[in-house]
Symmetry: C2
Subunit: 115 residues, 2 copies
DNA sequence: CTGTATCCTTTTAGATACTG
DNA sequence: CAGTATCTAAAAGGATACAG
């Protein structure tokens, strides 16, 4: 949730999830589902999407989500290596929750002044 | 989420939130909203609802939620003191999210074998 | 580009004992 | 009944450096 860790960087302006995550914790996992919901993305894409997450933490989260079968990792036979992550069917099950959180995030900002 | 902390006690059987919380973290706050959504409850009620949370942690969570205006604390003029907690309008805003998580929790258990 | 390895800080949680 | 006080541990996050 909120500044559980004051060092967490500010999320991108256009992600309405944030106001909600100020109350319902563990930001990164839900944010990753949110961005992967827009389609497969590469490691570096996610880094930019998430606005400041360290490679260490992103890697930790992705491994954890992979282990839980929420996402799949696919390494492309390119040089240098490119890796694409995408939601599994199980991962997509979380989208209604993400949607509800997103809507709430908007509402909290609009009607309750949560920034 | 899941056994982030292996010492976290198992939640009550009839709380479908758990399978979902195995993926989307910080259990206690969302669970408290879930139970308070059923009406005002006392400290001891919540302790039982939450199945094994320590008084210290419950107290911590309630103070935190109070500070964020998600709940209100009302001390009754009885002896011994009784204290009733309830959701504020802001706290009630979270119910759609809780509902979505609850539905997902059921689905994860029924269709994906998440326990 | 996609990570892993270290090292360190903050948050959450748990056990236990004790109090008005 | 409803907490507070300690002390400890685990999880998550962050900074930075380095590697295939």
């Amino acid at each position: 949730m909120t500044p559980r860790n004051p060092r967490r960087p500010a999320p991108p302006e256009d992600c309405p999830l944030d106001a909600c995550l100020k109350f319902l914790s563990s930001a990164w996992t839900t944010r990753i589902v949110w961005f992967l919901g827009m389609g497969p993305r590469r490691f570096g894409d996610l880094r930019r999407d998430l606005g400041g997450i360290s490679t260490k933490v992103l890697s930790d989260r992705l491994r954890s989500m992979e282990k839980k079968s929420m996402i799949v990792r696919r390494a492309l036979p390119t040089t240098p290596t490119q890796v694409e992550y995408s939601l599994t069917p199980l991962g997509r099950e979380f989208e209604p929750v993400i949607t509800a959180m997103t809507k709430l995030g908007d509402k909290l900002r609009d009607e309750h002044g949560v920034r």
